[in-house]
Symmetry: C4
Amino acid sequence: METLTEQILAQTIRVRPKESHKGTYGRVCLVGGNDHFGGAILMATEASVYSGAGLNTTLTDPSNFISLHSRLPEAMVANFTNRDELTDLVSAANTVVVGPGLGTTDTSLSVLKAVFDTVSDNQTLIVDGSAITLISKHDLKLPKAHLVFTPHQMEWQRLSGIKIAAQTDEANEAVRRQLGGTVVLKSHQTKIYTPTGSFLNTAGTPAQATGGMGDTLAGMIGGFTAQFADQTNAVLAAVYAHSAIADELAQSQYVVLPTQIIHQLPRYMHEHQG
Amino acid sequence: METLTEQILAQTIRVRPKESHKGTYGRVCLVGGNDHFGGAILMATEASVYSGAGLNTTLTDPSNFISLHSRLPEAMVANFTNRDELTDLVSAANTVVVGPGLGTTDTSLSVLKAVFDTVSDNQTLIVDGSAITLISKHDLKLPKAHLVFTPHQMEWQRLSGIKIAAQTDEANEAVRRQLGGTVVLKSHQTKIYTPTGSFLNTAGTPAQATGGMGDTLAGMIGGFTAQFADQTNAVLAAVYAHSAIADELAQSQYVVLPTQIIHQLPRYMHEHQG
Amino acid sequence: METLTEQILAQTIRVRPKESHKGTYGRVCLVGGNDHFGGAILMATEASVYSGAGLNTTLTDPSNFISLHSRLPEAMVANFTNRDELTDLVSAANTVVVGPGLGTTDTSLSVLKAVFDTVSDNQTLIVDGSAITLISKHDLKLPKAHLVFTPHQMEWQRLSGIKIAAQTDEANEAVRRQLGGTVVLKSHQTKIYTPTGSFLNTAGTPAQATGGMGDTLAGMIGGFTAQFADQTNAVLAAVYAHSAIADELAQSQYVVLPTQIIHQLPRYMHEHQG
Amino acid sequence: METLTEQILAQTIRVRPKESHKGTYGRVCLVGGNDHFGGAILMATEASVYSGAGLNTTLTDPSNFISLHSRLPEAMVANFTNRDELTDLVSAANTVVVGPGLGTTDTSLSVLKAVFDTVSDNQTLIVDGSAITLISKHDLKLPKAHLVFTPHQMEWQRLSGIKIAAQTDEANEAVRRQLGGTVVLKSHQTKIYTPTGSFLNTAGTPAQATGGMGDTLAGMIGGFTAQFADQTNAVLAAVYAHSAIADELAQSQYVVLPTQIIHQLPRYMHEHQG
């Protein structure tokens, strides 16, 4: 298992070509946020926008439209229960993030299935939060796509069937191979299991142990995979940057809020581009 | 009566252990905010989040969901009149804050009763604002829990039956013993009556004499009691920090707004951790 | 006509007494903001809160509740068409500001009449914007109260019957005497006609010639009159501070937005207290 | 084709005359923002306000009122499907911006036609985004007004019939002459075709290749044309300032968000006024 270092940033965050437009930097669709957990999809979206993704659309419960635009007019919105719009928007995306604040109701399940029915194998799909729980509970068939799972340890137990105490690298890697994508197993030292090897993230701080950190990371992975060609590196760089920014802020803060990390992204990515 | 000093901070605000996750820092449920006083529960929630509580859920009138998320996507929301959700969420919390902006209508009373019916003796319950008035008015039976009352002098008169002019330490302590918890009696020099002694807070400034300060303090006590083991010290540290941050800001401000105090918490707590 | 100087600030903005609470700094009720001009009452309220008024309640169209709380949880809200609530809240205020964004519909008129029917002679009533137009159009009888009118030149023409070109000090003062209060006649050099003399404000900058400045001034006058005993000085100090802060900001800004002035108030008032 | 330099700013951004009021700096009407793309009209409005336009009204879907006021109380709002209000407000404006987030539904078309039926030849009309697509699709007759089109290359292809690869200066200028206004052809190096010559904007950075940049530029052109007499220079100065501010921010940011550019306008315009 390789330890991630700052080098992953320069290897991943490319200097932007002069001749480019917003389409060059990808299109991200973020799906989640019911009437209780709207903040989760707001943070995921904000993280994708501040990562530099070219176009961002949030598919969510309509009760979240106003708060999203109050914070972030840069994103577009659609009702996640409108199947036609979901199909159109998800199809048009490079990267789809599904799960932050999605919940586990029938509506949540129906939305998740619609996403799974729509994504295709040239797209990257980040599967986060409630979406992982729903897959586990309903034994959903995974779609063909570049899959990135972002469970914390309990969600990984649900998805993989491996009890937390038994979550060894070997066991985790075995299930990852079955799932066929990348697994970001979040804990105080996050491990990333990928088709090309496993990585340990030693960056990060207990100051970031607060609600919304996972949603923010999912959004960053969305923004990074939409922009940067090497999908594995994009995931690794997002994980590293997320923790490294928190480390910076924790030098003067007892707790680091997710939105504070997000707002540092443009500066941090500038300083660490390749 | 002992005078609080900065020492209470280092005794209370622990250096966060490296191996931890959001669950380590507690789960706070904040209940309040009707259709007139929604700002109160917003400030209480914001204070709890910026104090570093791991997970924060706001039970409030649905008309406050959007403004809460516009300011603070880090918190989750639920309708305080949905009894099943209230029961689930309140039961799952370490600390419950009830009262900021709750109002004194039949709905307010019903919500308060539901909270009282749900909390149990391993939880801390902060009873603030309208909740104190409702207890006094309806002679409600108090639940078994670690109770923290945060009345200003008029609310204390209503709750204790002691007229403001007669609110001596002895009289106050006598009623506190009957109530069985901690009393934070707010005035220009707040006094805290606890099972282990009484404390005087000489920090604080008239610049903070503005609406919302009490809601903010209640939220801070929520965040501190959820995170720090010694519940009495947690209350004392929150009271002290609230005033001391105001003192800092008042060096350059004629009035100090509650939300300005809140935003200083991560830095201030970092500087004063033990 | 006396020219206002910085001295009015030190004469007015008292050092806050140590033993005080939010009630010491007054209660302001701000009435206005229909479904088109909601921003006006938001700015007026924000100005009152940042001026340091102890308690602030906004009576407005319910469509403005969420945006107000998103910006400013420190204020309370009520529906301005609820007559009972309006009566209770207006009665309880030290200062009432009526007019910002109120509009000139039947509802607007009805709200204005309700305010006029409720205020009494120990209260200060700031009459701004649409309220002035409504008085002129419907020839409303003015209530007994400490009246402060804040017209721009065209509104003053409507209210006083004096054409803009004929608005001499003598003519203006004559109408002011009839009206019986204070008139803040806004232009690039605002004049203030009071029972104890007339004043010229030479502070101010064309950078502040933008929508919302008047609403902001009305809110500041609200906050100042609620806090400071001498009602005439309170008006003069608010007018001067409003322009002087704009002058400061205009040293580095082409346009100065109302909300930018508001956010400087706590610092500016600290620097200029008596 | 002339290359734009900083000189266009000093030639355009006049020092504000001391004797002036908000009416001196124009009245802008911004029309757009359906229930999916509300952020677009929020950014356009914010750009116009921060540019210094005297009065700004946003005609949009009512679902965008609250988010707009949460961000920007300085603007007024109206429902863009209310034909009478649209007629009144558009007629009263100096500059009308139509298109940001307008969409391409029947409602969008109806709103656009209403604007076209209302504007007259002494007004400036900025035609942006969806409005350009609608004109192309429905072959709408253009109104007599000072027209400014702000297409990106694909929208220009739709409007002009010239394929992107064939968009030479000669071909573009020929269609511009037919259209009879100014064309701002957005790409990584924007070209501006005007009645008095063509201009190349070499300022700008790939860091600004993100959603909402065009909406922001449209709003800035709205604010500049409303304030500055020479309408061609106003367009040129807005285009240059938009890119030049992005260049400044890109010195420390990997991505530059539209709202970040907007917030720099008051300072930047101050530094570059004539």
